[in-house]
């Protein structure tokens, strides 16, 4: 049998197995090698909250989906073309997503009675005809791995754990991924664990060889490199890009960074990344809880550093009170909320966009603050810098919203042109700014720029400018405690106007409406960018006209938003929540924005966007 070589323009592969099976690692490596190969790509890791849920159960299944392509793509793909299922539970949990006629590769060794029943199968799907809609390849990966590794000295129990490398080898062969680079990578990664190294290498090679020699597969495939803009690229997750953005914001402003935080899924990796970067003027502080984390960040900001705090879910709730203090003190502070599915503990490893209204309104009193969102994994880098710029310049806490999907998903990122990154000027006061009645001078911390309403800020250590601030209402200008009713109203309104005024300092919303005559506008924010944009492409491919606006700024909204919205007959707001942005839009612009909501802990599929709009058009 000769093997055909076919060229594909894109393929979506999902690796699925037990939490202990190393699917995330396999997926990551496949992705990385595709990135280095030059494909465009997008990934979607999906794993349980347990460290290691009971082996063999549906709850314990961990999956990693990667979409690689020879042209630019926007999402990890709606349905996989290829599913690798390491055990019955993985099959059961994922098979319904596989496209009709898709390739299903199973580790047949794991389909024994016990595993089948753990997964909830009453009959063996490999033999009961239920999989006939797919091209099924049964491969005894466990035994092949054991066989391949028997000379490495690894005990069978340990050797078996290399079977994900067998799968990686096999799929790498199928899609013609660079071979040597992965060999090098394995060598490096396990350099201090010789037996593991040897056994992983052996399994990887065996998987690769198996594809080539087993005469099982009629073809293998090439997905050619995509045509990227010139430049240097890296493959990056949202959390990683966020961490880099924090470092960059510090360097651009010349401010030391203090990350005050408390571990929580899926935000912890930002802490892990930043704690390695001590030579970039970044300090990390793992506090006793979220309250202390944000408190320390604010204390650092008071001293002239950029205070940053990262969190998710319940952690956001706990920071409300300190955000209120930051608003009253008018100090910079950056809160990065990696949203996850709630309420309460909810689904810690699943994604959601349900903290928008919390970000807007989750503090007692009139306590406005700017809200910014990132739309793709790599976009987190710029979103952080923008959020930090606003925080530093306007002396205000800013909430940056990312989410679990962005956090763990990856895509190629064209490294930014450093000359285009704007410095951020903290503009600390060094001089007296007030003349007292007796002619002497003093420093009034709440004297404001008349246009931007930004207050003056002097750092401890500045001689002569000693002053006291606090969370009690204060006199505008002098900052002294004030119980005066009219002053309170003034301050409430100054704080509100300062935030509203940021409108003048942010970029306009950009409309994607090539023919300028669409009637329907899809308005999105955050991580739905890829799904909506891909949905829009599908619609346009069917000659349906539809416009797309994706918001970076949720508070304040861009100045031109109202005009844009009023141009369209219909505004549809797809969100991974029950319609939070649509509530804000309705209230602000009195537009009958339609909420299209999905709250399943996973992103929209492009096809869902497409269908919703098609239905809508049909019904209206």
């Amino acid at each position: 049998m000769t093997i055909k070589h076919e060229a594909l323009d894109r393929v979506v592969i999902r690796f699925a197995g037990d939490s202990g099976d190393g699917m995330q690692l396999t997926g990551d490596r496949f992705t990385e090698s595709s990135a280095l190969f030059g494909n465009d790509l997008s990934t979607f890791p999906n794993f349980p909250a347990e460290i290691r849920a009971p082996a063999g159960t549906i709850a314990g299944v961990s999956a990693f989906q990667v979409h690689i392509s020879d042209h630019d793509i926007l999402t990890p793909g709606d349905s996989p073309n290829v599913l690798v299922a390491m055990n019955p539970a993985a099959l059961k949990a994922n098979i319904s997503d596989l496209e009709q006629g898709g390739i299903l590769i199973v580790n047949s060794d794991s389909f024994d009675d016990r595993s089948l029943s753990k997964a909830g199968y009453e009959t063996n799907p490999l033999t009961d005809d239920s999989l006939k809609r797919y091209s099924v390849y049964e491969i005894p990966m466990t035994s092949l791995t054991l066989e391949a590794t028997k000379d490495t000295g690894a005990k069978p129990r340990d050797a078996e754990r290399s079977k994900n490398f067998f799968a990686l080898g096999l799929i790498s062969w199928m899609y013609n991924r660079p071979y040597d680079e992965t060999i090098n990578w394995i060598n490096k990664k396990y350099e201090n664990r010789e037996t593991v190294l040897q056994s992983n290498l052996a399994a990887y090679k065996a998987g690769h060889a198996f594809g080539e020699t087993a005469e099982l597969f009629a073809s293998n495939y090439t997905v050619a490199p995509a045509h990227f803009e010139k430049g240097t690229y890296t493959n990056i997750t949202g959390n990683h890009a966020t961490a880099l953005g924090v470092v960059a914001a510090g360097l651009l402003s010349g401010m030391q960074v203090l990350l005050g935080t408390y571990p929580i899924t899926p935000a912890s990796d930002i802490l892990h990344e930043l704690s390695k970067l001590k030579n970039f003027n970044v300090k990390t502080f793992q506090a006793e809880d979220e309250i202390a984390g944000v408190g320390a960040a604010l204390g650092a900001s008071y001293g002239g550093a950029l205070g940053v705090t990262t969190t998710s879910g319940p952690g956001v709730d706990l920071k409300s009170e300190t955000l209120g203090l930051a608003i009253s003190l008018e100090l910079p502070l950056l809160l990065i909320d990696v949203q996850r599915a709630g309420p309460s503990t909810g689904l810690p490893t699943k994604t959601e966009q349900s903290d928008l209204l919390l970000a807007m309104y989750g503090r007692h009193g009139e306590a406005p603050l700017p809200v910014v969102a990132a739309s793709t994994p790599s976009d987190c880098f710029e979103a952080v810098i923008e959020a930090a710029r606003i925080a530093i310049k306007y002396r205000t806490p800013v909430i940056l919203l990312t989410d679990g999907y962005l956090a763990n998903g990856a895509e190629p990122w064209l490294l930014p042109d450093l000359t285009k990154l704007q410095p951020i000027e903290p503009n600390f006061s060094k001089e007296f700014n007030h003349e007292n009645k007796d002619g002497s001078k003093s420093f009034y911390p709440y004297i404001r720029d008349p246009k931007t309403l930004i207050r003056q800020m002097a750092l401890p250590g500045t001689p002569g400018l000693e002053h006291r601030i606090g969370g009690l209402e204060k006199s505008n200008e002098s900052g002294a405690v004030s119980y005066d009713p009219l002053n309170h109203e003034l301050m409430v309104s100054l704080r509100a106007h300062k935030i509203e005024g940021i409108q003048d300092d942010i970029s306009d919303a950009v409309v994607d409406d090539p023919t300028s005559d669409a009637k329907i506008l899809l308005l999105g924010w955050g991580s739905t960018y890829g799904s909506i944009a891909a949905g829009v492409r599908r619609l346009r491919a069917r000659d349906k006209k539809v416009a797309h606006v994706h918001l970076r700024h949720l508070n304040p909204f861009p100045k031109n938003l109202e005009t844009i919205l009023k141009k369209y007959e219909t505004v549809i707001v797809p969100e991974i929540n029950l319609g939070q942005l649509s509530k804000l839009i309705r209230s602000k612009y009195l537009i009958d924005a339609k909420s299209f909501s999905k709250v399943q802990g996973v992103p929209f599929k492009a096809v869902e966007i497409e269908k919703y709009v098609l239905n809508f058009v049909e019904e209206n």
Binding site: G38, L252, N279, F285, G303, A305, G461
Partner: protein, 335 residues
């Protein structure tokens, strides 16, 4: 060293405590001490939570922050980590530090971060008008416990020692010199220092400490811990403290023991066991109660240790730029 006077340290704000409140004398002690320490006003920061005590920063002509209830140690930690050049004082009440702020307090102590915590313990919530606090005695009748409280108070010294506090002291608002001495020692200490200050709230808990701090009772009821000296007290110096296999330490009549049985005070003992035993001598301020420095030992200070790690990283990798940051990533280039 800059020469300042007490007046330089007083802000222009009118002091807003009730007439007769113990907070006044603590303020006076601090303002008197500052010139002597030779520190600069601009490098001094007072941070407080909420409560009567927490008004303190407004009255000091330094940098100051009146933050939120219980959170001053967290705020101060962030400041101390990034600005090791500053002299940072936290002023807090018993409710602020031990009730809502209990966790931040014990963690600040454990981390041994360079802040000096002055805990004004009046055994009551002053600002909210008289509810019981975590240091109120068992049976205390207050607005929120009209039938008497039914739980035991914290002993702040014991709690601090249990939380790995490296500098732990107690003083009271009736003795300016002693207060100043404790603060002086705290200022010398590298790391977190806690000074519990018994403070009279003459409006809601008047006389809470008078059994031990009033001029006529002090000699009998204050056990003054002085390093290197045997622990002896009583108007006639007839009482002392000795080791005890049941209680750790106990009060004894001097006549009943030999002189070398008397415990010599030493705040520098590395292990906190004897200090802890001393903190448990009295079950409340109504029997002979130790004041002074219970513990004062050297240990890694947190912000300094963190700074060292930063410097190590800088030495190894050089000061990072955005270009360095990005070039450390695995990349590929499209031409």
């Amino acid at each position: 060293m800059t020469v300042t006077t007490r007046k330089d340290w007083a802000s222009d704000q009118e002091v807003r405590w009730c007439p007769g409140c113990g907070d006044y004398s603590i303020l006076a002690a601090v303002q008197l001490l500052m010139p002597e320490l030779g520190v600069e006003r601009e490098n001094t920061v007072f941070i407080s939570g909420i409560g009567c005590a927490a008004r303190f920063p407004y009255y000091m002509n330094t940098y100051g922050v009146h933050s939120i209830h219980g959170r001053a140690p967290a705020f101060a930690t962030g400041l101390a980590l990034t600005r090791p050049d500053l002299d940072i004082w936290v002023v807090t009440g018993d409710g602020d530090s031990l009730s809502i702020g209990g966790n931040h307090l014990i963690h600040a102590l454990r981390r041994n971060i360079n802040i000096k915590i002055l805990m004004f313990n009046n055994q009551i919530y002053g600002l909210t008008k008289g509810q019981y606090s975590p240091t109120s005695e068992y049976g205390k009748v207050t607005k929120s416990t009209p039938f008497g409280s039914v739980l035991s108070p914290f002993n702040p010294i014991s709690l601090a020692l249990g939380a790995e506090g490296t500098f732990v002291a107690r003083t009271h608002d009736m003795d300016r010199n002693h207060m100043m001495e404790m603060m002086r020692r705290a200022h010398l200490h590298k790391g977190a220092s806690l000074i519990e200050i018994y403070q009279n709230c003459n409006v809601f808990n008047d006389g809470a400490f008078s059994e031990i701090t009033s001029k006529d009772k002090r000699a009998d009821n204050l056990i003054n811990l002085v390093d290197g000296e045997p622990i002896i007290f009583g108007a006639n110096s007839d009482k002392c403290v000795v080791l005890d296999a049941e209680q750790g330490v106990r009060v004894a009549d001097r006549s009943s023991v030999t002189e070398d049985e008397i415990l010599i005070h030493n705040s520098k003992r590395q292990k906190p066991a004897i200090a802890f035993a001393l903190s448990k001598l009295a079950s409340g301020p109504h029997e002979p109660t130790p004041i002074g420095v219970f513990r004062d030992v050297e240990q890694h200070e947190y912000s300094e240790s963190l700074q060292h790690q930063t410097e190590d990283a800088l030495n190894k990798k050089g000061s990072g730029t955005i270009a360095n940051l990005l070039s450390s990533l695995p990349t590929w280039t499209v031409n």
